[in-house]
Symmetry: C2
Subunit: 111 residues, 2 copies
């Protein structure tokens, strides 16, 4: 990682910011987070909210977001088992950044 | 969930937001934008602010950001020619989103 060189270079870009922007900008990840900001969702609901993404990639991204601590997974017993995804506290706190970016996209890209 | 049959993706994520977050989250792009928010910079200054990125990739990302209308390129005659990069109005207006993400990274990733 760039941690050491960033410390040597006071004018360098913060490595935590750098990692964060590339995490949320990863293909489909921003779209998944944006959908989860609306509230907890089941797998099928997420797939519907992000059309064009394969179920396989959605699974992979959700696992990544879980391991990054941004998304939690709640399993309710039953038949079939009901699995719901929701943002953790850290994930939910991305809300303002995502909201700013939505305003930007609306202003500069939606014409 | 309400379904508006007039829209193609009623519950879907805004495609402009989706494109925007993947644009700024592309490898190194967020770091370059973050450096340019500090002010106009020459190629070598940018390369120094974003250690670890090759000059070739920096050139490519700057061309992409130019074609997306986020970065402008000013050439001053001389020997050697002096080239400066700066944010356009659209690029500069990403400031609040980037600033929110920096706060998030500081809070959740910097421990």
């Amino acid at each position: 990682m760039e941690v050491d060189s960033a410390q040597e270079q006071p004018t360098g870009v913060c490595p935590h910011f750098h990692a964060a922007i590339e995490l949320i900008g990863k293909r489909w990840t921003g779209a998944i987070l944006s959908a989860l900001i609306e509230g907890p969702q089941r797998f099928g609901e997420l797939a519907g909210a992000v059309p064009g993404m394969s179920d396989r990639l959605l699974s992979r991204r959700l696992r990544e977001l879980e391991s990054e601590g941004l998304v939690g997974r709640q399993v309710e017993a039953g038949s079939p088992v009901r699995v719901t995804y929701s943002l953790t506290e850290a994930g939910a706190e991305l809300g303002p950044a995502i909201s700013e970016l939505k305003s930007w996209a609306k202003r500069w890209r939606a014409e």
